[in-house]
Subunit: 108 residues, 2 copies
């Protein structure tokens, strides 16, 4: 039976001088998510060594958890604050898990 879990990879494209500001806003989001969204199972932010992007790696227990995430006041506030700081729209990829291991120790 296919898993109900939903994975998201979101690539933010801040304006050249705004990447630290965007990272700070997303860090606030991460703290809210960690505290208030028990069914958001993973939410971390990566900064590629090259280029001007921030990548959020996310995992939700199910479609309901993703819906809760997108409906929160702090999510809407984050979008409001971040959007003017972006050079291009965020690349949002909603994904299914294919294979692999998500951490150690772990069964494959």
């Amino acid at each position: 039976m296919a898993s109900k879990e939903i994975h998201v990879v979101a690539t933010f494209k801040p304006k050249a001088d705004k990447i630290d500001d965007v990272a700070k806003i997303l860090a606030e989001s991460a703290a809210n998510i960690h505290k208030k969204e028990p069914n958001t199972l993973r939410f971390y932010l990566l900064r590629p060594k090259k280029g001007n992007e921030l990548i959020a790696v996310e995992k939700y227990a199910d479609a309901g958890a993703l819906k809760v995430h997108g409906g929160t006041e702090y999510f809407k506030a984050m979008i409001g604050k971040v959007t003017p700081l972006l050079a291009a729209p965020t690349d949002l990829k909603i994904c299914n898990f294919v294979t692999g291991f998500e951490g150690r120790p772990s069964k494959l």
Copy 2:
């Protein structure tokens, strides 16, 4: 002190009819990595619901672990098998962790 860990997000762009073949080859890679690379702390494959891509989310204990990964025979064999099945070069992002939580339960 900044973490030595290295995160990678690699987006594969298979030819339209080859995505399942690429997924299968990468699944073999994941099994090898899980078994033979104890310092590769995360390697899983996601398939966006839209488009024709596969995204590998990866985490290495340090630069040495990433080097070991890239030097293995099965990695080179995977590259050899996958490359002819791709429509465009793989988008490889080598990243630093910024913030967030990688799983539950977890401290932020």
